[in-house]
């Protein structure tokens, strides 16, 4: 609560000018002499990163800058790949749940991106460079989510992470059952966990029927064209965007992200996905995942989870602060996520808890914020490690990112500085001074006027 107040107060003081995005870079940018946590190739003490355009051109030591290269000295600082938050709900305009129907697979977060959401900027202040933003958990199949790069200051289009697969957000358990909805209203089917799964299965069957109708139509169309217009062309089936979206799930085009807490329902939905050939990529929260770690590994499904958040409802009782670490040690692909605009700014603290409580190594802990979520989101080709050829998405810290006293000092996306703490604080002080001066001038002018009247 206190931290929220501070942020709120800070927000009131910020002049929009201080939030101005992206310091333009000249021909190339060299980050010099920092401790580079590459994730994929060890840590380079006193290492350099050369950025050309939006890409990392070289990583190593004693890289000489070209004549036009900007240089930022990172002596004593730590650089890691930009943090990736694989489960969040920011930058969405309007409700994050479409509550009006049970299955709303056609409802797409891409349609309602709000590039002006100030939480994008706040995320950058915590070293976050990419996020997966999606529906809430009100529906068994909520709809499409999207992967964003936090290119703050542009339009919704500028935010979209090109090349990332589209996702479909599902939810099991108490939320789609609406068991916590105490307000008035007609009860919505389903009211049991069995019902939630049955609803998904029914939708699959409807979508398969829909796909058959289209296949049938396309066949008829082909025949009819081959017969050179003896008969009128067949009437196509009616387009149904909901079933189209479910069909895309069945075609493995959309990657499924399934909100679930309990081990039994995770096992059950894994069986369903296997049966229909659905690409189930990741369980969201998955608090009891440590109980079925081997099954998760065998299926090849990841878990995007919290470091130490549980017991907020009965289905979230059965977990431990060690859960993420236990799963990771057993070979599950684990990401630590925020699910929350405020927590998003301090994900590095949360990852550190897996070291403190679960005994993960520092590298393993950092992976839960970088390459692991990158793999889960299908963007590991572009980001998640500091390597030549990848996007220059980087976060600079005052100390090791897992140090409790660390502060994110600079965040780069596509080689551009989108957040620079020193400049930001400087701008704020300037704005405050300017404001004070204006007020004083106004007061003086007023006093003078009163004096003149006398």
């Amino acid at each position: 609560m206190k931290s929220r107040m501070t942020i709120l107060l800070a927000a009131l003081l910020i002049a929009p000018a201080a939030l101005s995005p992206a310091r333009p870079t000249a021909k190339g940018l060299l980050l010099k002499n920092g401790n580079v946590l590459t994730i994929s190739g060890g840590t380079i003490a006193g290492g350099d990163i050369l950025i050309e355009g939006k890409t990392i051109a070289r990583v190593g030591k004693n890289i000489a800058p070209g004549p036009a290269t900007d240089v930022i000295d990172l002596k004593g600082k730590w650089v890691m790949p930009g943090i990736i938050d694989s489960h969040s709900h920011i930058a969405i305009e309007g409700n994050v749940n479409e509550m009006g129907d049970l299955i709303t697979a056609e409802v797409d977060v891409k349609d309602v991106l709000n590039p002006e959401d100030i939480n994008i900027f706040y995320a950058l202040t915590g070293g976050v460079t990419s996020i997966h933003t999606m529906h809430g958990s009100a529906n068994p199949i909520g709809g499409r989510g999207i992967v964003l790069k936090l290119r703050w200051g542009g339009s919704a289009k500028d935010l979209i992470f090109e090349g990332a697969p589209t996702t479909s957000k599902w939810a099991l358990g108490e939320n789609p059952k609406q068991s916590n909805m105490t307000g008035p209203g007609r009860a919505r089917y389903p009211k049991t966990r069995m019902g939630v799964e049955a609803a998904i299965r029914k939708e699959f069957e409807d979508a398969k029927q829909y796909m058959r109708e289209w296949d049938d139509y396309n066949r008829k169309l082909k025949d009819s064209r081959a017969g050179k217009g003896k008969k009128p062309l067949p009437l196509p089936p009616k387009k149904d965007y909901r079933l189209e979206a479910v069909a895309d799930i069945l075609r493995s085009k959309d990657w499924v992200r399934c909100h679930a807490y309990q081990s039994e329902e995770m096992l059950s939905i894994m069986r369903l996905c296997k049966e229909y050939g659905v690409k189930l990529v990741c369980f969201e929260h998955g608090l009891e995942g440590y109980r079925i770690a081997d099954e998760l590994v065998q299926y090849g499904v990841a878990v995007s989870t919290f470091a130490d958040s549980w017991a907020y409802k009965w289905e979230a009782f059965g977990t431990l602060p060690h859960s993420a670490a236990l799963m990771a040690k057993r070979g599950v692909l684990v990401a630590i996520n925020s699910d929350d605009a405020e927590r998003m700014r301090r994900l590095f603290n949360d990852a550190a808890k897996t070291v403190r409580f679960g005994g993960l190594t520092e590298l393993e802990a950092l992976k839960t914020l970088t390459i692991n979520p990158a793999i889960i989101l299908g963007i590991e080709k572009y980001t998640g490690t500091i390597e030549t050829g990848k996007d220059a998405d980087l976060a600079v810290f005052s100390r090791h990112p897992l140090d409790p006293y660390t502060v994110c000092e600079m965040t780069l996306v596509d080689g551009k500085v989108y957040f620079d703490r020193a400049k930001y604080l400087d701008d704020r002080i300037k704005a405050e001074t300017e404001k004070k001066k204006k007020e004083e001038d106004a007061k003086k002018a007023k006093d003078k006027k009163i004096g003149a009247e006398e």
Partner: protein
Amino acid sequence: MPRKILKQTVPGVCLFLLISLQAQLSPQESLHRVWAVKDCRILSLSGPAVEKGSIIIRNGLIEAVGPNIPIPPDAEVIDGAKLTAWPGFTDALGQSLLKWPEEKFDAAKIYSGDFTDKDKGITPELKAFDLVNLGKAAIEKYHTHGITAAEVLPDKGVLTGQASFFSLGAPDKNKALLLKENAFGIGFSPAGFLVYPNSLMGVVAYLRQAFSDASYHALAKSRWQKEMRGSERPDYNGQQEILAGYAASKKSFIFLCRNQHDIRRALSLADDWKIDFFIADLGSEASLVIPELKKSKAKVLCTVAFKAPGTSLYSQLGKEQREKAEKDIYPKNPARLAEAGIPFAFSSLGTDDPKSFIEGIQKAVEAGLPREKALDALTGAPALFFGLDKALGTIEPGKIANLVLATGDPLTKDAKTRYVFADGQKFELKEAKAKEGEKPAVNVSGKWELSVEGGLKLTVEFMQEEGALSGKMTTPFGAFDFTGGTVSGKEVYFEMNITVGGQQLDLYFSATVEGDTMRGSVVQGTQGSAEFTGKRIP
């Protein structure tokens, strides 16, 4: 005689009696159809200003205009010396002339979940023509600020309804109508109930499906009509036929965009559907989308409330930043559109009452919009947008006689409308009366109870600003607003237009105030009057 009848009525029914009397008499038709405005300055907006000229109006149209025009012998002459004439303004998109039916929401629906399409904001069948109220008080508000025509649209929900275009010359909507159902409204505001679509993202998905369904319905129907033998007949679907009808007849869709992101959404949907459209810029953020607007050749209906949308950074940074932006940044929106060459007209949505509408446009002018551009956006541009440029927009022979006679220059603070011609009907504005009269010696602001003879009780809440009086009256038939009243000395005068049982009724109140009481009479047209007394409700 009517007065006698009134006195005999039993309590509470006198107003109903007034209606039946009105029905027997001819409507307030003007006696004169020919006017000559002599020796006025003319800003025709079709050429250079004429410093001294005349305008001849005959049978609703402008017959002649210019210097040295002979005055026809059958014309009633208005001395235009000291007055300037300019074309009547058009509100290119408004809803304040609509009288929404008063409906009680049935709370049982929240429990049963039996929501109607209306609860969902799906009301394609709603027609501005059916809902419009062009009563005297309603149109006088527009005339006072020089507005003589308006595109009116039911603007609530998702598929909001069908617009019509009116010239504000007659209370009879059949006479006032210029274009019936000429545009269709699409909004991005979900309903607040647990019913699909209840989120913005649901609304976008819904719209996509609705348009697909409409075009499919049209296809299936035409297939069946062509080949009845052996082909399946699609079910009738009124909503889909309306949508498909608008799209097929190349009528415009009006996207009600609350912020810059809605504008981008609208452009993308319009591109998918290949429809003609307008962007109603409710959030005054169109100037942030200029390249996209240019690319899709969009026409913008600019509002002038200049409230920062909740999505904007200014709103998120707190009250101080928001208010600063609303003062310094948002009023620049029309000027930036003008600079970029985006075609736009002004819409009263968001400001709603004509006074704040014109004040908002003045703000835009102060923020850098050239005055002639502002005038065009109120005259020529909307006429062109709605395909009425041959009938409206300038003072030229053959065009509809919609014009303003005022002191001062258009859109300046000291402009005072003296006469308005709408559809060739002359309206003289009362504002001068307060000026000529005494200074007010009383302040009636506050709540009053009026007892009309016959036992009818009315409560009025007056708002008095110097000699100007406005307020709201609660009657057994509903609550009604009025403006344009006057207070001079101890005399109070105000007029209002009410609807009783679907009938329009104009009432004229005058009274003398003595402390916390007043005594006077109410006249209904020429059909009768009744005495009333009033006392202040403490």
